[in-house]
Symmetry: C2
Subunit: 203 residues, 2 copies
DNA sequence: CTTGTATTAACCGTTACGGTCAATAGGGAG
DNA sequence: CTCCCTATTGACCGTAACGGTTAATACAAG
C-alpha cells in the first residue's frame, strides 16, 4: 500500500474507495475486476495498482476501513448512550445513513464481505468482525430497558426480526440500485416508529 | 432447447437445474460460467450445451420454470383461499419451503433474476413478473380481513416490513450457505406466529 | 459385430484478468 | 524556454477463463 494514496485530495480518495466498494459489493472477490474499479473511479488501472500493491491489499484495506468508519459513526451518534432500545436502533441506523452519504456502497460491501469464501480473504475477515458484532449485541441487551416492551413478546425474536427486516430493506434498495440517503433515512424512521409503536408496552 | 433433456431421468434433470439455479444465484448472468454449472451437476460442459443451445436459453428456461413452479406451489397450498392474512402468509411461505426441498436455490435465483441488468436478459424478465406480483398483492389486500388487525397500525407498512424481514432472513440463510428446509420451515413458523401475535387485535 | 445414441475430451477463437513498465503529461523552479 | 520531478497512463505480458463446437469415444440394444 502506497502512502501517496493518502496524500491525494480527499475527494479523489473517496472516489476510488467508493468505486471499489461498489464493484466488490456487486460480485464476489474473485469475480470483481480491478479494471472495473479503475474505470468507475475515472483513473487508469496502472494508477490503481500504483496505490494498492494488489487486489487483496485493496480489499483488506476496504474491510478495515469499513469496520473503523462504522465504529466511528456509531460512536459519534452516541448509539449506546441510552437505555431505550428503539432510540439505540434509530441512532445506529441514522449513523449508517450518514456514512452512506459519503460511502454509498460501504453497507452493501460489509454485508457481502462477511460471507466471502475466497480462502485468502476469509481468514483475515470473519473472526474479528464476529467478535465485534457479538460483543455489541451483548452490550445492547445489557443496556436496554426491558420493561418498556410488551410483556407477551419474545425479545430475541423481535431483535432478530428487526435486523432481518433492515437487511431485507437495504437489499432491495441496493438491488434496485436506488441509494438515496435522504429517502432511506425517512423510510427507516417510519419503520422504527412503526416498531416502537408495535412492540412497546401501552400504559 | 433439446427435447432429449425432458426424456432424462427426473433425478438427473433436477440435478442439472439445481446446479444452474445455484450458479446463477451466486453471480450475475454475465459472470456465471456454464462450465461451473456442468461441474456442479456432474456432467460435461459439452452435454450441457447439447441440452441447452446456449447460456441465454438455459437462463430463460430457468426463469420460466421458476415462475411456473412457484405459481403451482402457491396454488397447491391454497394460499389465497382464506381471508386470514397470517394464514395466507404461512401457506405462501410453506409452499416456498416445499419447493425448496426439491429446488434449494430457486428462491435465491428468483430474488436475483428480477434485478438482472444484462440487457438481453432484462427485457425478457421484468415485465411479466412485476405484473404477476403486483396482481397477487392486490388480491391479498382485497381478500384479507382487515378487522383482525390492531387498529393503530398501518397495514401497508406492516406488509412491507414483513416482506423485508422474509427476504432478509432468506438472504442470511443463503449467504451463510445453510439451506435446510426443515429448519427454515420451523423458524419461519416462529416468525409468523410472532407477527400474528403482535399485529392481531386483542379481543 | 453393427448400429444408433449418450457422452465427453480436446479444441477453437476471443476475451478478460492481475500485474508491469516504459513512456508521457504536466507543473513548478530557474 | 529548459530542466526536473512527480502523477499518470497506454500498451503490453502471460495466463486463465469463457461460450460454444466437433470429432471421437463409450455404451447399450439388437
Amino acid at each position: 500500500m502506497n502512502d501517496k494514496f493518502f496524500k491525494l485530495p480527499l475527494e479523489k480518495q473517496r472516489r476510488i474507495i467508493n468505486a471499489a466498494y461498489k464493484v466488490f459489493s456487486e460480485s464476489s472477490y474473485k469475480k470483481a475486476p480491478m479494471s472495473e474499479i479503475a474505470d468507475e473511479s475515472g483513473i487508469s488501472k496502472a494508477l490503481l495498482f500504483h496505490y494498492f500493491t494488489n487486489k487483496k491489499e485493496l480489499y483488506l484495506y476496504l474491510w478495515a476501513n469499513a469496520i473503523e468508519m462504522t465504529r466511528k459513526a456509531v460512536a459519534e451518534y452516541k448509539t449506546l448512550e441510552t437505555d431505550d432500545f428503539f432510540e439505540m436502533l434509530k441512532r445506529s441506523l441514522l449513523s449508517k445513513c450518514s456514512l452512506m452519504r459519503e460511502y454509498p456502497h460501504l453497507y452493501a460491501f460489509s454485508l457481502r464481505a462477511y460471507y466471502e469464501t475466497t480462502p485468502e480473504i476469509q481468514n483475515s475477515i470473519q473472526e474479528n468482525f464476529n467478535d465485534v458484532s457479538k460483543a455489541s449485541e451483548m452490550i445492547v441487551f445489557e443496556k436496554m430497558d426491558i420493561l418498556k416492551f410488551r410483556k407477551d413478546i419474545d425479545i430475541k425474536t423481535m431483535y432478530a426480526e428487526i435486523f432481518y427486516a433492515v437487511d431485507g430493506y437495504m437489499l432491495k434498495k441496493y438491488r434496485s440500485n436506488c441509494i438515496i440517503p435522504d429517502e432511506i433515512e425517512k423510510e427507516i424512521i417510519v419503520l422504527i416508529d412503526f416498531w416502537k409503536k408495535v412492540y412497546t408496552q401501552e400504559v
